[in-house]
Symmetry: D2
Subunit: 482 residues, 4 copies
């Protein structure tokens, strides 16, 4: 609909023709011979982002779910919402989705949560304030709350939105955009919304055309001609999801017209209100109840195919996988260095990283790390990570620390003398080391017994899918071998 | 009052007609017979502001001139840039133009100044930070400075822009928008830029179609068919402006094709650089040299007719006039209460106004005023104005105070015992009372001798065009009659 | 402990003696002949605020309770926490206590809530950001949340603090300061903490020496010599509060050594942790369980007598009373205009108030009101209040509006044609008109039948203690008489 | 004066003695056996910073000079004020002094400049906003400006302060603190001011007791008993500085009572006003005119001895030296990782650094670098530095880039195809590479001819004291050998 075009004056006298070539240069693309280090390129982007009419900043509100309803990210979520988990050195899970919104010119953003909301609220209330305030923009946290009418917690995504409708209705937007907060991908939502508007759809849901049925727990949808959604199905022989509309959902083989739903919905404002208040006032979930119900009612429910990288970090494995992917400089599936589509997060003023003598391969080093004589490979070191002499870190995610702590700093009143960070001579492999943990000297975290599931909170670590997860603030004594 | 309008394209080929109906659907107010699949009507939705492609936030940078080159606003500018003069109770002159930018989705804003830049910098660096930061937005002050190459002050608008080009070039915008900072009007610059782009113009300048030649000192332009600018002229028999291009400027009668130039220019980025660096490297002013020169060179210079309210506050009279206009609730020429086009300024957290017993007519009361038993008529009271018992204020602009000062508060170490504000029993008529001034008890500021020009800085007041201006911080002793 | 002192050089030659008198003037106070309008004075303040060692900003964290446990403020709390109720035109209830903290150099502030936390979070996350960030300062909301360990809501003040201890322990402060969020008073908490430290106390609680037993529901404490707290009692013949420590609480007459507890506690960090985790791990409330328990255990619990104005807004009546007090310019019990002890709140950039023809007595006018030909007496008009022609408002609190709405603006999609504000010819007396309500034309809200308790939510109003409360967003049709 | 003390309850029954040990632990210091990596320690700091009475935040205003009057930092200052030069990867020169102020509880900070003020203003207006706003705090830039009275630029430090006195007088502070902006050191100014107040001094100037006469161009002072300043002298046989007070300045040998003046002055407010307006109304410089003049007048001018690390970055060499020092993890002279005395700067939300295969020794890596297969030794890489395959960087300061630029990104319209950063196979040794420069492939920047002074702006580099300085934005073609 919107043609991206800069004026190309084609005047006939001298100065104009000179200017013309400038203009052309300005608006054209060089696309040949891109060397291998060109991942910073934004070559898949237009010169300027898509522009929606009416603008997304005025006509769309995003609702981000801070908790995944079936998350298997424990123990990373012991004290945090899913959305507050640190990722890729400098970020939190929710930054990806919120940045998508900001980069798509959507600046009315509500984050709904009830599990460990403190962590997420602390992040959100400080992270994007600078980026979103234009034209009444905001990222606002709505924690589950008690009111005179309702003393319960949120019972699901649909219930949460229903109970917050009185807030969400505040601005006269045309559409709501529902977004799970624990996904990693880059999408210009303006294109999704444009498709929704062009189709005169009531509901449009995004499906992944590139990630078909990788995980059997995905909910799939069958898409008919002209992209209407025919039904919700389950992958390869799995039983149908439980819902009031069970009859319309069948178990089928994976077919060319079947795609995993990304859990992303554009819903017209009035449709949303009708669905939640009138048609399905008792339904608690969008995926299992409300959206299938809308199809059954005959509403126009469309699919929008998205073929980019998409990672649903619903488990320790997928979280670990997404982190490992981010260490690849070539074929980077998710470009953190894209100037046109930046990732927003909490502003920091940390010191630079200081390194005594380190060999570092295929790794990401967050802000303000302190590395002695050490070796880092295929790993991510989060902010303020301290690594001692002769330590080795491989294939691991180290989340770093909230503070700089001196070895002799006893202000925290901890009983241990082991400082925050990775001690001298320790070796860490295929592990996730949560924040503020204290790994002593000559510790081996290598899953020596090749355990798939093990450990315990009491011991300070849990092994899941063969990945050792050191708990936040855990103390691992000198010489321990895991 | 404010007409919200989206363009309804009526093109003839297929994609456009589809868009047309979408637009119509979206912007119309249909509320009956909504079919079941589209009970979604957005019928209660308003239109949304114009949207430019590429978006103004990415493709346009505004350059606001904080000083008027021929300003006759002294003594209000004794310690301030023109742009920092308080207006309409809560604002500063420059807020109007900067808010136009923000409301037009232009968020790269440079303010150039050299006269008393401190006041303007202090305002700008704190005023819009929340409103402009999205997508790398900013309002940044560039004060005249010395560099290794150039030890001089700015010699005019063109010289200022030329010397700052290295900063202005930082972002790859398509056009620069040049704006005098001391005007009061509401314009969606996106429409101006859209016209500029539609015309493939090199330069587009805004002209006022509603304010023809009110002030003989205006510079007028003659506009040809298809809105190209033919020449710069002077109003009704006045001598032509002095310029290198004098020969192309004639003295003519006011004609239907002649309009006052508003001093607002859209200039293509590359054209600007060529004009300032190659074609007119020694020219100091846009109005007298560069723009007429561009016409002479044969560039495409277009006029954009603006028919809204426009006040050029270049003199004490016009400043006084604009303030008086703002007190009219009906036929308000400039709507300060427009939800869709708000005026941004310094955020405040002042207490509310407290009023003991006041009769107030056709007046504006700024935040945090303290009014005793008094009468206010056709006047503006700025922030924190204190008015004593039995005081009368008519047809006046009182700018208020920077602080709350107790009657006994001697922290400022002033020699006077007269507190900031308007003392008991005083009477003020047709005056401008600048900030922090101390009007004693039973003072009469009524221009008793009907002087047109008079007063002196030493006495703390100046009379110009019959308007008494009390200087900032001036002390007027008890019982004085002016 | 801290002596406020400026150096008074007493050198012997000419320039020094001149300087000396400047110094003296600077640091002394003139206090004679203060006229009646001098309420802006800060004469009861020191030249500079008290300074604590170690500084409060580093050594104290404040915990503000956003909900009053026994609040009778419904229906004002239908959609809001107590702390988010608008007061005095420009503020929210919680602003008073948070501003006390900021003005006392306490910048680590947690606000705990679970009832309608959205409103409070929205306010807090934007209100004080500028004022508190120095030296790692913050005002952070902690909404009740579910965690892996605990799926319940907060069960009381002590339970809430216990569940949040892991957050509160983050900074190595020396003391916690517990504060109810719905009180109005000005206290330099540094003096309270200084007394606490000077006494080597474990717990210090503030008592009101000026507001003895006004409300029989206050919890009183008996204070022994040297200000130790002997026991918790109830006022004049009321039954004792229910607690595990009942045996130590007696019913006594009001005696000179008995004072109402303000619910404000300073508790040493380590003592707090011990009390909540070890000694009373099941106790839910500080007032009834934990603090009496601490006395019984023999801890040093001291009283700090506060003799200033203190309003506990626990009911509609006390809320109404506090608002009415704020309209008094003379003998103002709570000075909103105190330069040295400002009240912080959400920053705004509203237009000034515009007034066509109004007679205003003993009233407070919030920012950006639009008043036609009307009469306002002993009332408070909140931000953006619109009052129509010939309307009369007396002895009332009108909370104003969140938006400017044109009479023809149908964006909100409301079914009514009555705009937000007070309609023409309406008369309002002794009422609280909540935000965004729409009072039609010629409405009489005067409690014509002198009802003490009445009305209903369905009708849009409730009468309590003879005060009519119009609900937020309620529509009162033209001609209605209440 | 201020006793840092936490309460140590010494009760006699059970619970209290348990608590006591907690308290003791909390407030005591363990200081033995600090291992070599403990530089993060704040062991030289008290538990809490010093606290001044009245507090520095209320009673002191800092005036920071953004330009060094005799700076030899060109070409780093070609487009920047001295204070805006990048240092130590993440910072700007002025951050050190401003952070000293913030950490010393001084929050009224004026930065005066006239040379290339744009760069400094842009930094200051965004850098510390979060950190300084409490209690009316600010960092405000005052650029040289024209006013009705004065059309000149600032003529020196004293002239600049004199012309800005009307602004500086706004807050009723007791003392002004004058600070050169291009120094690197950590000083708690509260101790300096405390000494000033304890001595009843008119002026106190800081002298370095650890850096005696390293640079013969330092201005030294002779300090008498009781620390009064006797006279200004020059180091070892150098001629006296030129001043009106020449007669009082003698050439002497370095003696035990002679110390370099740091250019840091505390001056009583009234003394400052008298000195600049009455006694020396024509003097332009503090060091050569006003302070020696004050001594001659008989004012009490005291010295405050500072024995910490102090680097006056007045030349390319000293700037280079300070950067090199910051790469040392042991014996770090200036601790960037001090939790209690953090360095504030512009908040960022950059991606983490990504490293393909690097060997890094004794180096500092700023935020968001992109390093391929390369070797970094004794160097500093600023933000967003990109280093290509097989590049080697030694003993160098690389300032990084303002943007991420794709190899194919032609948006900047530059004529070159060399991207920003260090190209493949290039070797850089003992160089300063300014921002946004484009070093091609296989470039050698090694000062092959061992030149002391050389190069030229036209060639894109300058050699001074044997250090090669690549200009900001310079393009060094593939294969160049310098």
């Amino acid at each position: 609909m919107v043609v991206l075009q800069l004026s190309h004056p084609t005047g006939s006298f001298n100065i104009r023709s000179k200017l013309t070539c400038f203009h052309r240069k300005f608006s054209s693309k060089v696309s040949s011979n891109v060397p291998s280090t060109s991942f910073i390129s934004s070559s898949h982007q237009p010169d300027y982002p898509a522009s929606l009419s009416p603008p997304a900043s005025q006509s769309v509100a995003a609702i981000v779910f801070g908790d995944a309803s079936h998350s298997r990210l424990y123990p990373l979520t012991k004290r945090r919402s899913d959305g507050a988990i640190p990722i890729a050195g400098n970020y939190r899970l929710i930054d990806g989705v919120v940045s998508n919104c900001i980069n798509s010119n959507i600046t009315k953003i509500y984050a709904l949560t009830q599990k460990n909301s403190t962590s997420l609220n602390s992040h959100i209330s400080r992270a994007y304030s600078g980026a979103c305030l234009a034209n009444e923009g905001f990222v606002e946290m709505i924690a589950a709350y008690q009111s005179a009418d309702d003393k319960d917690w949120f019972q699901g995504t649909a219930d949460a939105v229903r109970r917050c409708l009185w807030v969400l209705e505040e601005y006269p937007v045309a559409e709501f955009l529902l977004l799970p907060g624990h996904h990693l991908y880059k999408m210009d939502y303006q294109k999704l919304i444009e498709a929704h508007r062009d189709n005169n759809a009531d509901v449009t849901l995004a499906v992944s055309s590139s990630m078909r049925c990788r995980d059997p727990s995905y909910v799939n949808v069958r898409v008919g001609k002209e992209n209407q959604v025919v039904e919700f199905i389950k992958c390869q022989g799995k039983p149908p999801i439980h819902s009031k509309l069970e009859e319309s959902i069948m178990v089928i083989d994976d077919a060319h017209d079947t795609f995993p739903s990304m859990g992303i919905y554009v819903i017209n404002r009035v449709v949303m209100i009708k669905l939640l208040r009138e048609y399905f006032p008792k339904s608690n979930h969008f995926r299992s109840d409300v959206i299938p119900g809308a199809i059954a009612l005959g509403l126009k429910v469309q699919a929008y195919k998205f073929d980019g990288y998409w990672e649903d970090m619903r488990s320790i494995e997928s979280f670990y996988h997404a982190n490992m992917e981010s260490t690849k400089m070539t074929d980077m599936p998710y470009n953190f260095y894209d100037r046109d589509f930046p990732l927003y997060t909490l502003p920091r003023h940390l010191p630079p990283s200081i390194i005594t003598d380190a060999a570092i391969k295929n790794s990401i080093i967050g802000d303000g790390c302190i590395l002695s004589n050490c070796r880092i490979k295929n790993s991510i070191l989060g902010m303020r990570t301290r690594v001692g002499d002769k330590a080795i870190i491989e294939d691991s995610v180290v989340m770093g620390s909230d503070i700089y702590q001196s070895v002799t700093d006893d202000r925290e009143g901890t009983a241990t003398s082991i400082p925050i960070g990775i001690g001298e001579g320790s070796h860490i492999r295929k592990a996730i080391v949560d924040k503020n943990s204290r790994i002593g000297k000559n510790v081996m975290i290598v899953n020596k017994d090749n355990v798939e599931e093990g450990g315990s909170e009491a011991k300070g670590y849990i092994i899941t899918a063969g990945i050792v997860v050191i708990l936040k603030g855990a103390v691992i004594e000198d010489g321990t071998v895991l």
